[in-house]
Symmetry: C2
Subunit: 242 residues, 2 copies
């Protein structure tokens, strides 16, 4: 850990705090059931998620003005539906529900207790590509006890753009080194460290399912490496160890 | 109440949620004690607060770019100290502590329980002239369980500028009528209603001390009129009445 005292612990959300894959697969299942049909819902969830980073990259590179995730998710869903031949015609309500499913993803079992433990000592919030309204709805439905929510609409930047890491620190009135990013993704932590933030890796070996091959472990000497968010809270204030 | 369902209940903070006058008077007392002296601290707190609205008015009128409350408070304190002859020389630490005292004001006794009750059913947050970092520190020290904090630095607007009311609604993804402002100040509610927000008056008859003469009661047919924030929570979901 750096000598600077961390005052805010901010979290990547999709994958790190909430389980997007199960939640989105379940949303596809719900839509299929509505049409008395079945889908390879996990496959569709993965295909949808694969379009996530490239769609933001066009914004980070300056080819496109800031556009929020609801819009990107809807566009990407349109391509997924065009690519995969579904056994039924999707309605506008289906599309709405699928896009909206990203607002109501369930937390990993350790997320809520871990965040409560951290909140006693640190400012906690998301540092996510989600916009504020999406992250608020996620927090209310999942019970995430954030102190505040600074969405990508407020920073007008998507990770790994340095502004996505530096603007939240500035809004908090903190130096970058006083802010820690917690993520299950080594590339996110690399970009955060490049911007001067402290870093914590939390393993999420089931984010991509049981045959996950990436981000199974820390790929650098991140300031903290934890098994989950409860463990992270223990490492950050060891006096509260279980 | 309007037919539209309120989804977010946002609060004026200084005076409505926290007791600025006692807190600032106490900060002057602390500074005086440091110099083995005494001050008419309530008088100084009132003199400082009187400069609050005019200093923001210059920004709302466009005469000055957005400048946060820490800076305005510091400038206004300099005028107060120039006007009142203090029996000692104030240090930079004194000035810092006084400006910082606005970050750590105590809540009225009903604020925290009332906010917890409201949070179960609504999105809650401040709609204050404070900037995000100030409001965050206030929330952490006073235990205010906001869902999110959208400070004036994020809206770049001070009340009663319509943008100060409309931008938080837009960030929340809500129509103005889906947002309720709660305030102990009739003029704040007038401006909120002019922008289409729902309104709730909460009486704070001791905000300005025991001889307060303004804002003792609702001066219009606000959507809700409550004795305090616990009462407001009861009125907004009557099934939880005590």
């Amino acid at each position: 850990m750096t000598a600077t005292t961390v005052r805010a612990v901010l979290f990547d959300t999709f994958g790190t705090v909430v389980d997007w894959r199960s939640g989105i697969a379940s949303a596809f299942d719900t839509v299929a059931a509505r049409h008395s049909s079945r889908l390879d819902s996990v496959h569709l969830a993965d295909a949808w998620r694969r379009r996530y980073a490239p769609s933001m990259q066009r914004i980070t590179s300056g080819d496109r003005p800031y556009t929020d995730l609801d819009t990107l998710h809807r566009e990407n869903l349109t391509s997924v539906l065009a690519e995969f031949e579904l056994p039924f015609e999707t309605s506008e309500a289906d599309v709405y529900d699928l896009v909206h499913a990203w607002h109501e993803l369930a937390p990993w079992p350790d997320s809520v207790p871990g965040l409560h433990a951290l909140k006693a000592q640190y400012t906690i919030g998301p540092l996510s590509n989600g916009h504020t309204a999406l992250l608020l709805e996620m927090a209310k439905s999942a019970g995430l006890p954030w102190d505040l929510i600074i969405g990508s609409d407020l920073t007008q930047a998507y990770k790994p753009d340095p502004a996505a890491y530096l603007r939240p620190a500035a809004i908090l009135g903190l130096a970058p080194a006083e802010v820690m990013l917690v993520a299950a993704h080594n590339d996110d932590l690399r970009a955060a460290r490049d911007s001067g933030l402290a870093t914590a890796f939390v393993a999420r070996p089931l984010e991509h399912g049981s045959d996950q091959s990436i981000d199974l472990e820390a790929e650098s000497d991140w300031d903290v490496v934890a098994d989950d968010i409860v463990h992270l809270a223990e490492l950050l204030h060891p006096r509260l160890a279980r």
